[in-house]
Amino acid sequence: MRIALLEDDPSQSDLVRFWLSGAGHICHAFERSREFMRALTRDSFDILVLDWELPDVNGDEVLAWLRANGHDSVPVLFTTARDSEDDIVAALKAGADDYLIKPLRKQELLARIDALVRRAGRPAAPGSGLKVAEFEIDIDRRVITRNGARVDLTQKDFDLAAFLFRNVGNLVSRGHILESVWGRSPDLNTRTVDTHVSRLRTKLGLLPENGWRLSAVYQHGYRLERLAAEDAETARPSETPPKSAGSRAPHAR
């Protein structure tokens, strides 16, 4: 998972980043809320871990900003040394998905993160298959089928497809795609993502006439979305005349 951590205390940040990276996550740490919010306007993450008490803008205000600015599908885990019942209730009411009281414990933190991601419908681990409309993605066998027919993909194209299907409807940044599929590699750039996305669009038929749109969003990334039936119908190249409302289905006699 790609995780954004907002934490101003260097010791706490060191520890959480160490635990997360040791568990195979990629963690981007921010010490200041404004810097964090700026990053969120151009980048995306699988989960956000927020401290409450921060020097510039407090975590609860950051949370309100997130929920008001289109980041409502990203799970938020609040971590704070505040331990009163009122504080916990306030954070959950403000839109946090979960709450951990510091001092943090490694295994509990990792388990909570996994649980949040699972509840958000973004299964991370092998053994968790996905079915999205006509596509079935078998993570263990690394196989994708469309309407039951296997689609031949390279390893990277499979990883990219699995990532995009886990994020249907969400705008994901090129950086998010790059790190999630290729990992942190200095040799790669975001053009790699563009090339693979284009190829995947063709191989999987992720086109409006098939009820899908995989669109590039300027200066940000990509969004894979399922189109409403009427949008797909409009986009479909018509060799036969469009059906009229009255001729949709034969009546039983």
């Binding site: 205390d9 260097p10 010791s11 706490q12 060191d14 520890l15 160490f18 040791g22 008490e53 704070t80 040394a81 510091k102 001092p103 943090l104 414990r105 490694k106």
Partner: protein, 106 residues
Amino acid sequence: MDNAPPAAVRESVRVARELSELVPRFLAHRRADADRLREALERADFDTVRSIGHAMKGAGAGYGFEEITTIGAELERVARVGDPAAGHVAVNRLRDFLDRVHVVFE
């Protein structure tokens, strides 16, 4: 750690081996905290005392140093009631702990 205090006075703390690279930096930060706390108490700046105490309370036991979390909580309390004398006692306790701590990685 190499510069361990004499056995008679040291306080051994068992810490996960995987944290061996992070712990020296953590303890260095706490030594710096002790200096900042003393200065803050001298000018009755309880906001700073509370903020440092809050961070110590949050991080200490995560590294395995329960004593740091306890002292952090005490500093938060001191700041809430505005008691500089109790603040100096807590800072002395922090310094004493940092002088005596002997980390055993396991």
